[in-house]
């Protein structure tokens, strides 16, 4: 966090410093400053997607096939709310001055992805809370179905916005890599729905809703395949930067492992069977892969380019 912490105190035995006489001065130094967003933001990106995705999957499914999905949705909404709250808490504590979190609501700036996101999340949380609350009431036997429907419909666009802003926030800036990530938004929103469906699938599996499971299993398989497209495009965007930062081996290792974990394993598992065990394994692997992708992405600007390129000899 300390901007210049690495520069405090005296260095007893200095490392040799490459000469400064080559004449190209600062040509090899990184100009931009990393925002010091680390694992927290990666986890946040995952939770954000999961929460909004779970809600939207549930909402869309319930609205489309109430008969099949209502009972599942009633469980999904409270879950989405919990996930969202955890996410919001993480966001607040990632601020430099958490006690000023409410300053975000001081203005609305369409030009600022963060502002758009914050407002979407804030508004989204209200109908979502209502929907979740009404779902719990229903469990206690007081079912206001029409009210819950209204809340869900109201929440949908803002839930979508909450999912859609994140990628734009992480690509509309000047950070190495990020500034080229034209498809980050596309990937994140897409994978939000994917994860949401996956989570909903897990819920259905637990509740033993065979029909829901059957439908969602197909949906998730389809989405897993679809999701490869934005992911591939994102990777293409990042390729030059990754090549600058990491060795070929490391790039391949990480790439292949995430693809296996995030796409192949879930795909295979779901194709093989539909028992809770398979479903859980698939969902876990998917989330794991997704987390790794987000983590690598967030770390890009915070990774120093390999020394040999950064400096010039006398």
């Amino acid at each position: 966090m300390q901007t210049n912490s690495h520069r405090r105190g005296h260095s007893a035995e200095p490392p040799p410093i490459p000469g400064w006489g080559a004449g190209d001065g600062y040509a090899h130094t990184t100009i931009t400053k990393a925002p010091q967003w680390h694992g927290g933001i990666a986890a946040d990106a995952l939770l954000n997607g999961l929460a909004t995705g779970l809600f939207m999957a549930a909402a869309v499914s319930e609205l489309a096939l109430p008969a099949v999905f209502t009972s599942v949705a009633k469980v999904a909404y409270p879950m989405a709310l919990v996930l969202l709250l955890v996410d919001l808490v993480m966001l607040v504590f990632d601020l430099g001055d958490p006690y000023r979190f409410h300053h975000m609501l001081r203005v609305f700036k369409p030009g600022s992805p963060m502002s758009v996101g914050v407002w979407c999340l804030a508004i989204f949380s209200l109908p979502l809370t209502a929907a979740a609350g009404l779902s719990l009431l229903a469990a206690l036997g007081h079912d206001f179905e029409w009210a819950r429907r209204i809340a869900v419909i109201l929440a949908l666009p803002f839930g979508f916005g909450s999912a859609a802003y994140k990628g734009v926030l992480l690509s509309t800036n000047s950070q190495p890599g990020w500034k080229d990530a034209r498809w980050m938004g596309g990937y994140l929103t897409n994978s939000a729905i994917l994860m949401g469906c996956a989570a909903l699938l897990a819920v259905s599996a637990v509740m033993g809703q065979a029909q829901a499971v059957a439908i969602l299993r197909t949906a998730v398989i389809a989405l897993l395949i679809i999701n490869v497209i934005p992911l591939g495009l994102l990777f293409a965007n990042l390729q030059p930067t990754l090549a600058r930062l990491f060795t070929r081996e490391r790039r391949w290792r990480t790439g292949v492992l995430t693809f296996i974990a995030g796409t192949l394993i879930p795909l295979v598992l779901l194709l093989v069977g539909d028992g809770p065990v398979f479903v859980f394994a698939a969902v876990t692997s998917l989330l794991l892969g997704s987390l790794v992708i987000r983590f690598v992405y967030v770390m890009i600007p915070h990774t120093k380019p390999s020394e040999s390129r950064a400096v010039s000899g006398t």
Binding site: H10, A12, E13, P14, P15, P16, I17, P18, G19, W20, G21, T314
Partner: protein
């Protein structure tokens, strides 16, 4: 420097900083003005904007070289050769300003038969005495041919040098202080040959003397190539003459040599030949290091000089009585003929009514000098246990003294030491913080550290590099027991007077009769109107008034006190005037009018109402020379002062540095004395003969003309005078603490020089306790060329060791092409540069470049040679115990909110403070 004094008459910058903007060409040599005086450097930059050419001749490519048009790298210690080469170029190519030289210099003067030049005696002048390693100018026939001046014929044994009456940057009091040196007769009486053909006339001697300094020899000695040298020569000549002027600016890169005064002499000779002195954008700009170096030498806290460059009397009959003192020190012609008025008025200022005609104005009370009491000589004495007590008033020899190790040894062998300073400097904590010293239990010295007031907490005047006296006002009271140095000295004086109150011992009478009453008339107030809390503070305005001087026989009705002098022209030698420092007369001309504190902007570019410049508020010295002999400006472009035939007086933009009503055609009658002996065409009125001295028959102890000698420590042999390696009159201080590697050795093959960084100040006492400066230059480093680094396996940024005969230090290596090896007589000689700001006390500490330097003194002003000495460098650390910071870094000066100020106006950078 006496170099200037000997040539022009006053040892001070001839021009002023703002005038640099009027130059067509400026040669910076031995100066790094952009780094050492950045704000002063804006004027040369203005000149450059107007199309002037800036030339930097320096061993290192510095931040100034970066903005100069030309940079020529020369080896440290080869300056005289480079300048001598320029003199030779000007003479052999007939580029000298004939009218100027004929009228305003002693080029035509004929020198005594029997004078022998270094050309004839293989590097020595006539009159050298092997026994004492000193010159006897009388024996050497240095004087002018013709009837000798008054003070000649003195035959006392050579006193221990130096008793230069010059101080570090002193007036050239002709006749110097060496009683053996004859003061030359006025030009009117000395033999002259206006055709300049006489073999013994100065011009001919000059030609012969500098004939050796060919472009080729310059290249071999300096390490630059001939083309570079010729280019500089061409630029200087092309930018001198009627229409254009060239200025030469120097600083400690010239003075800190065993030939310092002679380097400056060479430049002065060059400027006289080119006809630049006394003219706008011309002359020689001496750049001082500190806020009041000039003042300290004017007022003179120097052992060998009284205020106003009056020489401290010597032990011996010739200075026993006031009369004989004046006989020997005064002069018959030129402005110094008023000598008796200056000394008598000083005695009256010090001893008041106790100084009477009857008792020789108590002249006998002044202590006499019986030896060398200059800083280095005294610390040498101290380190050998010969000194009991010492006062350091804002000075840090333990960090900044040459051969600082010897200085610390000196402090360790004192009985008691009084330090007046702001911080716990090296000199205050040498007994506990010096990593290479014995434990405190073995150091006897008793130390008193008095916390002193910072500049904003006290008032007083400072004299800057252009002789401008400026007053700084007190803003707030110092906290705690902090007091101004003045308070401590004043009250110490009072206590001592009490201690001696009932003494009748004649030895105590000087103290008891010393005028010492500077109490405020009413309690002093701060600018915000509140009463100052400090009791017993002296009223420094009263001190300045005493310095300015009074007429004791007249009472000023306005003040009811003796009338203040309006100028030193009013001084008398009958005891009716008192004056603490005659050259400052006029700074406080009437009650309540402190001209040093006047800050009025006028449309006169010289801004004569901002501060007060001595003498007489003249801003460009010898400005009579800006007009031709007939009194007309040399050119419209370079107009400064001129003779107004109607008004029958000198007029000008600047105050004429000349008798206002003396017409250009005035010729002194035979036997004239005083100023009457100075003709209307003679601008250098401090000189007995009124002209600039190309040849200096007196004053300098190492010869009437400059000679290239190698530094005492040099890896190179003297190519010009193989039989005379270094300055024959240099004084060494032998001793185990001060070994010198004299002969060129392979043990120390590298030339070292010290330098200053913009971000730090001197030994660091005023910068290494300041985090805002420390972060900009946080560590001691050494600059060296990639070639030397490769040769010794030194890595950029790694540690390296530097060894000299005195000691070794470790530092980070700054490998840079800004330094380059020099090709000296066919072989490569490496040079390194060491910033001298670090030592062992403060937030930022490091090894001390001055632990490497030596004490040895040039014969004229006891100046050491920190700018060129021999060393050896190796990769890696030498295993010294590295000093640790003695205080923890304070990122903010303070975090206290600004009083009486809302949050919206609090500084933005005190994060989280008030928010």
């Amino acid at each position: 420097m006496p170099g200037l004094g000997a040539t022009f008459g006053r040892g001070a910058a001839t021009n002023y900083q703002q005038d640099m903007a009027n130059s067509d060409c400026i040669l910076f040599m031995g100066s790094n003005m952009a780094e050492a005086q950045p704000v002063g450097f804006r004027w040369p930059m203005k000149a450059k904007e107007k199309g002037a050419t800036l030339i930097h001749v320096d061993p290192r490519f510095t931040r100034m070289s970066a903005v100069c048009d030309v940079h020529v790298g020369i080896r440290s210690g080869s300056d005289i050769t480079f300048l001598g080469g320029l003199v030779n170029y000007v003479l052999t190519n007939d580029r000298w300003f004939h009218e100027y030289v004929l009228a305003y210099t002693n080029a035509a003067t004929i020198i005594e038969e029997g004078f022998r030049d270094t050309e004839d005696l293989a590097g020595l002048f006539s009159g050298f005495e092997q026994a004492t390693d000193t010159y006897n100018p009388k024996q050497g026939n240095w004087g002018y041919e013709g009837p000798p001046g008054d003070c000649a014929g003195d035959a006392t044994p050579p006193a221990e040098p130096p008793q230069s009456g010059l101080g570090h940057e002193g007036h050239g009091l002709d006749g110097g202080s060496d009683p053996r040196i004859a003061s030359p007769a006025p030009l009117s009486e000395a033999g002259r040959d206006p055709t300049l053909q006489h073999p013994l006339c100065v011009m001919q001697i000059l030609r012969r003397h500098f004939a050796r300094y060919t472009p080729d020899i310059v290249s071999q000695v300096c390490g630059c190539n001939p083309e570079e040298f010729l280019r500089v020569a061409e630029l200087l000549c092309a930018n001198s003459g009627r229409e254009r002027t060239t200025m030469i600016a120097y600083a400690l890169g010239w003075t800190q040599h065993t030939t310092g005064p002679q380097i400056i002499r060479t430049a002065a000779i060059l400027q006289l030949l080119l006809g630049n002195p006394g003219r706008p954008g011309g002359g020689i700009m001496a750049l001082r290091g500190h806020s009041t170096i000039q003042g300290a030498t004017d007022i003179s806290t120097l052992y060998d000089s009284l205020p106003g460059y009056l020489p401290q009397p010597l032990a011996g009959p010739e200075h026993e009585t006031l009369h004989s003192y004046i006989e020997h020190k005064g002069q018959r012609t030129g402005y110094w003929s008023n000598f008796s008025k200056f000394i008598v008025s000083l005695l009256k200022a010090w001893y008041g009514d106790a100084a009477t005609q009857g008792n020789d104005f108590a002249f006998s009370w002044l202590p006499r000098i019986d030896g060398d009491y200059s800083d280095m000589a005294y610390f040498d004495r101290m380190s050998k246990g010969g000194v009991k007590g010492y006062f350091l008033t804002g000075q840090n020899p333990a960090g900044g003294g040459p051969n600082a190790g010897l200085h610390r040894a000196g402090l360790r062998s004192l009985d008691w030491l009084v330090v007046l300073d702001w911080f716990e400097t090296e000199s205050a904590t040498f007994w506990k913080n010096d990593p290479n010293a014995p434990p405190p239990s073995e150091i006897k010295t008793e130390v008193f550290l008095f916390p002193t007031a910072a500049a904003p907490e006290k008032e007083g005047s400072l004299t800057n590099t252009q002789r401008l006296i400026q007053w700084h006002n007190k803003s707030i009271d110092p906290a705690g027991d902090r007091r101004s140095d003045a308070w401590i000295i004043y009250n110490l004086g009072k206590r001592l007077k009490q201690l001696y109150a009932d003494s009748t011992d004649p030895r105590d009478q000087p103290l008891l009769n010393l005028t010492w009453d500077y109490d405020f008339d009413e309690p002093p107030r701060l600018p915000d109107g509140t009463l100052s809390r400090i009791q017993g503070e002296p009223d420094l305005a009263k001190v300045l008034m005493e310095i300015n001087g009074h007429r004791l026989d007249e009472i000023d009705p306005r003040s009811g006190k003796p009338r203040l002098l309006s100028s030193f022209a009013e001084l008398k030698d009958d005891g009716t005037t008192a004056c603490g420092c005659w050259i400052y007369s006029g700074v406080f001309p009437e009650p309540g009018r402190n001209r040093a504190n006047e800050r009025t902007i006028t449309d006169n570019p010289f801004q004569p109402e901002w501060g007060f410049a001595w003498p007489n508020n003249v801003r460009i010295l010898y400005n009579r020379a800006s007009a031709d002999p007939a009194g007309r400006p040399w050119s419209e472009r370079k107009k400064l002062v001129w003779w107004d035939a109607e008004k029958r007086r000198w007029e000008g933009f600047d105050r004429p540095d000349f008798e206002l009503t003396k017409p250009p055609d005035y010729q002194p009658p035979p036997g004239a004395t005083g100023m009457a002996a100075i003709a209307g065409t003679q601008p250098f009125i401090m000189k007995t003969d009124g002209v600039g001295w190309l040849y200096a028959p007196s004053i300098l102890k190492d010869g009437p003309l400059p000679v290239h000698y190698e530094p005492v420590e040099s890896p190179v042999a003297n190519l010009l005078y193989p039989l005379q390696q270094c300055n024959p009159t240099v004084r060494l201080f032998e001793g185990p603490l001060n070994p010198i590697a004299q002969a060129p050795t392979s043990e120390f093959p590298v030339v070292a020089t010290t330098f200053r960084l913009t971000e730090h100040y001197l030994s660091g006492a005023m910068s290494r306790f300041n985090s805002w400066l420390n972060e900009l230059q946080p560590a001691m480093f050494v600059e060296l060329s990639p070639e030397l680094a490769a040769e010794r396996g030194i890595v950029h940024g790694g540690w390296m060791t530097i060894r000299t005969a005195r000691g070794r230090i470790d530092a980070r290596a700054m490998v840079t092409r800004r330094l380059k090896p020099f090709l000296i007589a066919g072989r490569i000689v490496h040079q390194i540069g060491l910033p001298f700001h670090w030592a062992f006390a403060g937030e930022s500490v490091g090894d001390n470049a001055n632990d490497l330097t030596a004490i040895l003194a040039d014969p004229n002003v006891s100046m050491h040679d920190c700018k060129a000495f021999a060393c050896q460098v190796e990769a890696g650390r030498g295993g010294n115990s590295a000093p640790q910071p003695t205080v923890t870094t304070a990122p903010w000066p303070t975090l206290d909110p600004i009083p009486k100020t809302p949050a919206s106006a609090q500084p933005e950078g005190r994060f989280g403070n008030g928010k």
